[in-house]
């Protein structure tokens, strides 16, 4: 499969701060790749470099076969970038926004395309409403519709579902998969684990560096993480006693149960040993993506210079 995104060693600095540190990323065409990482880890900056909004301070590569720096215009014409913050005009109607985007890209059959897009969105009856009057979920779906109006080959979505309710999120992701089925490559940043699991593959970035790459299962397996679940009376209240114990990367209450994970079995078992009492039952379980990410975040922090 040809690569839609093929960038290597991307670096971006603001003053002395390195926001993105030698990130390499290759994504095959037609794949949905989840881009994960803590806040401020460089996801947005990386996306902006890929779509030509920022000039990398180092590294380079191609996006849809076009050079990242020299062929910005060509990339902009064939990629759709959805900003984290609603980037359309709240004081234009839904229809006017789509028409504006269509005109900027110089699309033919504009009316037809906009009509089609409104139909697909299910906003045909509300097309004369101001975009600012839409709810958060609808705004995001409108922004996505605007992004794909020019039939891009690549979609770069920056936390498109932040603050959106589960039903709207599901609708949004259904649309992402529809586009992927049409052959569009999608790179989408998110904080939601369920969304990460809906991606073909994920890339995890922390403190500017790429930490993990692969399908969700691969990422979990490669982490080598061991997890235990404790059930029983008061199990969920044990978290504070485990959190700082050696060998434990994460201990968190999930309802009445407690999830504990660590990189190695022996130290983890040693840590929970004192808490095997009073009817609390410990069972080994498969680590979740969230466990892995919290673990990776801790690792990255240890490696990050100056922290």
């Amino acid at each position: 499969m040809p690569l839609a995104i093929d960038v290597h060693d991307l670096v971006k600095r603001y003053g002395t701060r390195t926001v993105v540190d030698r990130v390499s990323l290759a994504i095959e065409e037609g794949r949905v790749c989840g881009f994960l990482g803590p806040n401020g880890s460089g996801k947005t900056t990386t996306l902006r470099m890929i779509c030509g909004l920022l000039t990398p301070d180092g590294g380079g590569g191609t996006c849809l076969g076009h050079d990242l720096v020299r062929e910005r215009d060509a990339i902009k014409r064939q990629a759709g970038y959805m900003t984290q913050r609603f980037g359309l005009y709240e004081d234009l109607t839904i229809r006017e926004n789509l028409e504006f985007v269509g005109r900027v890209y110089g699309l033919d059959r504009l009316k037809q395309r906009v009509d089609g897009s409104l139909e697909r969105l299910g906003l045909a009856t509300r097309q004369k409403q101001l975009a600012g009057a839409l709810s958060g979920g609808w705004k995001q779906r409108l922004a996505l519709a605007a992004c794909v109006l020019h039939e891009p080959r690549l979609l770069l979505l920056d936390e498109p579902t932040a603050g959106v309710d589960p039903k709207a999120r599901r609708a949004f992701w259904d649309e992402i998969h529809t586009y992927a089925a049409e052959g569009i490559t999608v790179l989408v940043s998110t904080h939601y684990m369920d969304e990460a699991e809906r991606c073909h593959e994920i890339a995890y970035i922390a403190y500017g560096a790429l930490m993990a790459r692969g399908t969700a299962d691969e990422v979990i397996k490669e982490s080598g993480l061991v997890s235990f679940i404790a059930t029983g009376p008061g199990a969920d209240r044990l978290a504070p006693r485990l959190r700082d114990a050696p060998g434990v990367t994460a201990a968190a209450a999930f309802g009445a149960t407690l999830h504990v994970s660590g990189p190695e079995r022996a130290p983890l078992l040693a840590a929970i040993e004192p808490l095997r009492a009073d009817g609390i039952e410990w069972k080994e379980a498969a680590p979740t993506l969230e466990d892995v990410f919290i673990h990776l975040m801790g690792q990255a922090q240890d490696n990050a210079p100056g922290t």
Binding site: R48, C51, G52, L53, L54, T55, R72, D73, K76, R77, Y81, T83, R85, F86, G87, L88, Y89, E90, V101, V104, Y105
Partner: protein, 378 residues
């Protein structure tokens, strides 16, 4: 009604406001820097009683007496005789272009008539578009001339000393014979209103995109800076043109200010001036972070356009450095152009200098705007 809670909550808001203000460095700097700069600038620059105004003299009668008269006029401090045109036409052209404020004409039989004890006349043509600039020099002319003649015509010449009223100075207030301030104000207002609205509107239009977060989306699309700039500016050119039409119509109906010169030239000059202002507004928007800063920066352009352009105070009353500053302002050139066209009936040749100046400013500002506007978010 005011309980302890009131002061606590008030304090909370106060602290928050101060913290926020401190973060917005540019606004903070402008709040203190701009007034001080303006105080110094305008305090030194503005003089409502301008001296050393350029004047031309046509003397067809070169005698001791006429030389005495010219030096008497010079010694009032109001007139500097910078030109000695050979003909009346040449003198008129100087006045029309605004290169001189006064033309003093001494007729060929002046000395003869004076010596014979007849009534001798001197003609002073003044550019009275700005009544303020012309008033004092004209008022001082008659006493200065009489005094000088009394002093100089001594000895054998004493007999020729003119009787009171022997020398008559005929004043002609050109372009604004009644000395009406509004004739001068209306063209100036045109410049000021356009500066105010045009600069501010574009400055805000672009900054708004940044503040609302739509700029990032716009930049991600294949659109070039020049396209954004022209696209943003053109609607305001139309708005500005409507403004001008309304101002001109209203001043015609209510103030009887009738445009003497070519309407087409006025249109051309106005279009150029509007475009310059929009380009300035666009440049401001590339520097400022938010709409508040854009607003303040616009006022920073507006104030000198009112005070240093010759709108409020006579341009020639300012020290040379302030005049140079005024020359850089598009409002100065536009005001001259409009006054020329509306009051003096100027033609293309008379206003071509102003048009050129506006074009030059436009080119410089546009280049600045385009170089500042970034295609990326870097």
């Amino acid at each position: 009604m005011i309980g302890a809670g009131f002061w606590r909550r008030l304090g909370a808001i106060l602290v928050k406001e101060v913290q926020q203000l401190r973060r917005d460095r540019l606004t903070f700097a402008m709040m203190f820097g701009v007034p001080i700069m303006q105080l110094l600038l305008f305090g030194y620059a503005i003089d409502t009683d301008p001296h050393h105004l350029p004047a031309a003299v046509i003397s067809a009668d070169d005698t001791t007496i006429t030389r005495t008269i010219v030096s008497a006029l010079t010694s009032t401090g109001y007139m500097d005789f910078t030109h000695r045109p050979a003909s009346e036409e040449e003198a008129n052209a100087l006045l029309q272009r605004g290169e001189v404020q006064f033309v003093v004409t001494i007729p060929s039989d002046f000395t003869r008539r004076l010596v014979r004890g007849e009534r001798a006349q001197i003609l002073i043509d003044a550019d009275a578009t700005d009544p303020m600039a012309a008033a004092n020099p004209l008022a001082s002319a008659q006493p200065a001339v009489e005094q000088a003649l009394r002093r100089d015509l001594t000895g054998p010449l004493a007999g020729h000393n003119p009787k009171p009223g022997g020398v008559e100075i005929v004043l002609q207030r050109r372009y604004n014979p009644e000395g009406k301030a509004r004739l001068n104000i209306v063209p100036g207002l045109l410049a000021v209103i356009l500066t105010m609205t045009m600069v501010m509107m574009t400055a805000l239009a672009v900054t708004r995109e940044r503040e609302r977060g739509t700029m990032e989306n716009l930049l991600a699309m294949p659109v070039r800076p020049i396209e954004v700039m022209i696209g943003k500016i053109v609607p305001y050119i139309a708005i500005g043109s409507v403004q001008v039409t309304v101002i001109l119509l209203v001043s015609r109906v209510l103030f009887d200010v009738v445009t003497q010169g070519s309407i087409a030239l006025l249109g051309l000059g106005t279009a150029l001036f509007i475009t310059v202002n929009l380009a300035i507004g666009f440049t401001i928007s590339t520097v400022t972070q938010n709409q508040l800063q854009a607003m303040q920066a616009s006022v920073f352009i507006l104030l000198p356009s009112i005070l240093l352009s010759g709108f409020m105070f006579p341009f020639r009353g300012m020290p040379v450095w302030a005049q140079w500053l005024g020359e850089v302002l598009p409002a100065t050139h536009f005001m001259r152009l409009v006054r020329g066209l509306m009051l003096k009936g100027a033609d293309l040749a008379d206003v071509s200098g102003n048009l050129l100046a506006l074009t030059a400013i436009l080119l410089v500002v546009s280049a600045l705007a385009i170089s500042r506007y970034k295609m990326t978010l870097d």
